[in-house]
Symmetry: none
Subunit: 152 residues, 2 copies
DNA sequence: CAATATGTGGGGGAAAGTGGGGAAATGTGG
DNA sequence: CCACATTTCCCCACTTTCCCCCACATATTG
């Protein structure tokens, strides 16, 4: 039972975002509508069902925090993590601080990523996607070992 | 039990595409009509029976996602993966985002590729095919080791 | 040539997405 | 502690999209 697929979403003037209907039922049973939204280090937002988030949180807490990168991860991911619920119409209200972080305007893209969902500003998503595709073709087959084994 | 062969397909104004009748029965028994369509990094679409897709999805989810290339693969392949069913007439409705990605117009080509099917815009298919043939002749027999062993 | 199967197009009803007004709750400053 | 401003949430109404069904055109088979 994983999240997948792309949805074009509009964010209204109040910062509300409608969760696609096909995800709502799954979110209800996975976590009773309790979600956690946080930031990702490449300028998008991550949405977890609360139980899934708590697993991640434990990992973050137990990182060796004399390491500088560990502290960065902790401050970003835990620092921005916000608990929120869907309203009666299946929408979530994204706090202004998170919207600012991800540069979210009126149009956004919601993509399923297994145990979590990602929210991108539409323009940012398109730009990144072009870059990714260009990189993949430029690299010409030089992939890390873990990736080389995958065949689609 | 593999898919093979090439079919010319038309996509109507609503984005619907008729699956050739000879594939339908096989798709029904393979997955009860549950299909997953996603993108490929060279601008075509991939159609999997749901069980086949889930095998790939598991591999994708378990990739080390602090690695940049892993995230790109996850975002593209899982991000666009859309679950859909055939309607009463054996057609599937391709979401606008997927049609845009692959540049699909009214005429498309459906190609059997073993466990999956590929969908190309007809014009794009023809152009690529010419290019591939030209490249193969230009390279003059310099193949990677894994390919050198194959005899057709 | 008839008869069946396949491909193609379109209309209508239901569901989902979108936006705004107002009440309740929360926070702030006097 | 009270008055005011702001935010949050709930409800209603409108618009758009999606999906199911029917009807026709084309191709295939006996």
């Amino acid at each position: 039972m994983h999240f997948r697929g792309l949805n074009n979403i509009s964010i209204d003037a109040k910062g509300r975002m409608a969760i696609p209907a096909r995800y709502r039922e799954r979110l209800q049973e996975a976590c009773g509508g309790n979600l956690v939204v946080t930031v990702d280090h490449d300028k998008c937002l991550l949405v977890y069902p609360l139980p899934e988030w708590e697993i991640i949180e434990d990992k973050l807490i137990n990182l060796p925090n004399l390491n500088k990168q560990s502290r960065v991860l902790q401050r970003l991911y835990m620092g921005y993590a916000t608990e929120l619920e869907m309203d009666g119409q299946g929408r979530i209200l994204l706090p202004a601080s998170l919207r600012d972080y991800a540069g979210l305007g009126k149009k956004a893209v919601l993509i399923g990523q297994g145990k979590k969902l990602e929210i991108w500003d539409e323009a940012a998503w398109n730009e990144n996607q072009e870059q990714w595709l260009a990189d993949m073709h430029a690299e010409g087959g030089e992939l890390p070992d873990t990736l080389a084994e995958i065949s689609l």
